[in-house]
Symmetry: C2
Subunit: 143 residues, 2 copies
DNA sequence: CTAATGTTTAGAATTATTCTAATATTAGAA
DNA sequence: TTCTAATATTAGAATAATTCTAAACATTAG
């Protein structure tokens, strides 16, 4: 999403396209990492004429989550990370580096497979609306 | 695990079987819920002759995680929950009630299936040591 | 006994986040 | 263009979860 679309998206969702919100959104859309509010605050603090407050970063992130432009990701204890990738996808955590990688849900694990799987649980019937997998391990570079 | 085994388990793992640790461990082993440190503190505070401090609850939980008798579970932002179920298993979150249910990993989603799945990701080779699925949805009672 | 070691404790400190209430900005109406 | 009402931003206080500190306790080996 480019600048103009972003601006329009905000307007369409009753969100004033303030410099702070635009800067935060543009920053998130530009990175594949999953930064925390603090990391975002540090990263953008010199991209605005006047310093942005941490409260505004938190406020803006909440607003951006609400209009569906970003998502929260929970990986470590007591830390919320933010993700520009709003599609249903999974995460691979590199246990050596701590890096969080997006894993796209290809067809192999389908909704049907998942629901079948849960049907094996004898006690209750589960109606799954969503699911998220966190993989832990290491990454071997392709040769 | 009963009282005697618990005591022995602690000793075998160089952990003094203090009343505080035993009480916390027994409490966790007795519940299928996934309580927070605070909830545990409240729940056991009248099961000991003298009041237990919250610091001790945190210290003990850390020790119990270290010796592998319990696990941490991350579901909500900024909250750590504890789980007596140390087997590899998944969690179903009832989005109506917030309840967290254990889902045993039956064979349908095997390690091989998972690794195959990740092999479809063209960019990198993943060596998965572990994975955890969080399901969201509702539960229909069996008729 | 006594020393050494490990444990618990209250309360202070820290970290992440939310709240408050004053000020500033925005966007539409006049 | 102003004016105005609604929103947004801000600094700093407050809160929630957790960790740290250093003193008091308990247990055990000598
Ligand atoms: Mn954070
Ligand atoms: Mn907690
Ligand atoms: Zn992601
Ligand atoms: Zn569990």
């Amino acid at each position: 999403m480019d600048n103009l679309n972003l601006q329009q998206y905000f307007i369409d969702h009753n969100l004033k396209p303030t410099p702070q919100r635009l800067t935060i959104a543009k920053f998130l859309l530009s990175t594949d990492t999953h930064p925390t509010a603090e990391e975002i605050h540090k990263a953008i603090s010199n991209e605005l004429p006047t310093p942005i407050s941490l409260a505004t970063v938190y406020n803006s992130l909440e607003a951006l989550v609400k209009v569906g432009i970003i998502k929260e990701v929970l990986t470590e204890p007591n830390k919320v990370r933010y993700d520009k990738n709003i599609t249903n996808h999974h995460h691979f955590i590199n246990t050596k580096t701590g890096e969080i990688l997006d894993i796209e849900p290809y067809e192999l694990i389908s909704k049907e497979l998942i629901e079948n799987y849960l049907l094996k649980n004898p006690k209750q019937k589960f109606k799954v609306s969503n699911y998220h997998i966190t993989f832990y391990g290491q990454v071997e570079e392709n040769s």
